[in-house]
């Protein structure tokens, strides 16, 4: 059953394996370790002080708030997109499929600028909103919008191909058995993509927490007001406040590591869902 193993000489194999490990160490392990070494250089007390300082606390809270809005919104969008694009054929479907990837293709800076143009005070929409006391650009709503935009593809990309490959057989079986639309969705469609959905949510969360470019443009960098955690890191770093910058960065790194672990766990289950 097993495929014949390649038969390169031992020395070549060892060399290649060694090179792979060296590359991983150089590009992944050492930088990650450096973040924690720097963060704890002056001890755990200094780290704690740096992450619980008011601006850092505010940045952390804002980051969590933004993720708490952007991730559920994109989970819902992604489910809707996966369902519509995966289960149905309609005119314009290919266009929509291409548009879903737009946030990946566009540079985050450009995405940020687009939101500034669309919602800035000098724009029609922005002016109208400002007239009703709603600030979007250089305020929290803008940060949320930019994050939603940048993280939109993650869930949809997992779900569209999966739902397409699963087809509509089970939904039709449910319908003939008398199940209505919502019942079918909740009992059949959703459970069939549960792990892929969670997988997409993890990727989406990691990016929502870590997003810098687009958020940087719309936030205005107002300390204690519109700085998210990544922006806070940058601000401190630019002021040579390395201890604080790395302490905050260590939090972001922890989120990334947790996402990696969750990803590894979920990808095994997500694999089972493909028919």
């Amino acid at each position: 059953m097993s495929a014949p193993r390649p038969r390169e000489p031992l020395a070549v194999r060892l060399l290649l394996i060694g090179l792979a490990f060296a590359a991983i160490a150089l590009f992944l392990v050492i930088p990650l370790a450096a973040v924690f070494v720097e963060a704890f250089r002056h001890g755990a007390g200094a780290w704690l002080a740096a992450v619980s300082e008011p601006d850092a606390r505010h940045a952390l809270k804002l980051t969590l708030l933004v993720a708490a809005i952007a991730v559920p919104v994109n989970a819902a969008f992604g489910l809707a997109a996966g369902w519509a694009l995966g289960k149905f054929r309609f005119p314009g479907r290919n266009l929509v499929l291409t548009l879903i990837d737009l946030p990946f293709a566009v540079s985050p800076i450009v995405a940020g600028l687009v939101f500034v143009l669309a919602f800035g005070r000098s724009s029609l929409l922005g002016g109208w909103l400002a007239g009703h006391g709603i600030e979007v650009v250089f305020a929290v709503p803008g940060i949320v919008l930019a994050t939603v935009f940048v993280t939109f593809p993650f869930v949809a990309r997992e779900l569209v191909p999966l739902m397409q490959s699963q087809g509509t057989d089970e939904e039709e079986a449910a319908r003939v058995l008398g199940a209505g639309f919502f019942t079918t969705f909740l009992r059949v469609t959703l459970p069939n993509v549960k792990w892929a959905l969670l997988y997409g949510i993890v990727l989406c969360t990691a990016r929502a927490v870590g997003e810098f470019g687009a958020v940087s443009v719309v936030s205005g960098h107002i300390r204690g007001a519109t700085n998210t955690l990544p922006l806070h890191v940058e601000a401190l770093y630019n002021e040579y406040a390395f201890q604080g910058a790395f302490a905050a960065a260590s939090l972001l790194t922890l989120v990334a590591l947790a996402a990696m672990l969750a990803k590894a766990f979920l990808s095994r289950h997500a694999g089972e869902e493909a028919p």
């Binding site: 079986a173 003939v176 008398g178 009992r187």
Partner: protein, 239 residues
């Protein structure tokens, strides 16, 4: 409940899949729809079940026009060509599904669901596999689960789309006999799709041919010494 298809046509794009097809299945009758692959058998079953709308023509149940009736309200049992079992549900939950999704007023209590599902699993001889997932079953077992699931809601008619198509010859032979015996017991109006002539002749009371979207009736007496045709079918021919 009788099924009557009157002059149904259906195109997919410019391709005419069903061309003025008419067909009758009397109350309690077991009819085989025989035709080569691509002749429109699945399309016709889907139209009868309400999963597809005909371009022209009507579908009647028990003499009533049901063409505009939603698939959910047709009370049709459908056994799909590729089973279409719910992959994330156990065998038991698959069979129970139709009972659990009934409107609250008609939904049987949990004890009745249990009893009914167990009965059905016994009927298809799978009561010992209730906890398994569909992926853990053989093709023949999946097919019987699909049948039990369709029967759970007490359908008025049963539509079977090449139910034994992907099984090996021996299992096929067995299931075929078993299905015939089952029909002789419960007399459920059944339309059985196949591309295998021998299968059609052996299992059904009557065979209808479908060729490139056109139907022609044939009425060979079932080559059978096993059982007389069900009583209800003679009622039909007397009409």
């Amino acid at each position: 409940m009788s099924i009557e298809v009157r002059s149904v046509s259906k195109s997919f794009g410019s391709f005419l899949a069903l061309d003025d097809v008419s067909l009758q299945v009397g109350d309690g009758e077991f009819v085989a729809l025989l035709g080569p692959s691509g002749s429109g058998k699945t399309s016709l079953l889907r139209i009868i079940a309400g999963l597809e709308e005909p371009d022209r023509g009507t579908v009647h149940f028990h003499g009533e026009d049901a063409t505009r009736r939603d698939a959910r309200e047709r009370r049709v049992g459908f056994v799909f060509q590729h089973y279409a079992l719910f992959r994330r549900m156990s065998v038991f939950e698959n069979v129970a599904f139709g009972l659990r999704v009934k409107p609250r007023a008609e939904r049987p209590p949990e004890t009745d669901v249990k009893r009914r599902v167990t009965e059905l699993l016994k009927l298809v001889q799978l009561d010992w596999l209730g906890d398994r997932l569909p992926s853990e079953l053989s093709g023949g077992q999946r097919q019987r689960v699909a049948l039990a699931r369709a029967l759970a809601v007490e359908p008025k008619v049963l539509l079977l789309d090449e139910p034994f198509g992907s099984l090996d010859a021996r299992v096929r032979q067995e299931l075929r006999r078993w299905l015939r015996r089952l029909h002789d017991e419960i007399h459920l109006t059944s339309l059985f799709v196949t591309h295998d002539q021998e299968e059609a002749l052996e299992v059904a009371d009557r065979v209808v041919l479908l060729d490139r979207g056109r139907s022609s009736r044939t009425a060979p007496p079932r080559s059978s010494s096993r059982s007389p045709p069900p009583r209800s079918s003679s009622t039909f021919s007397a009409r």
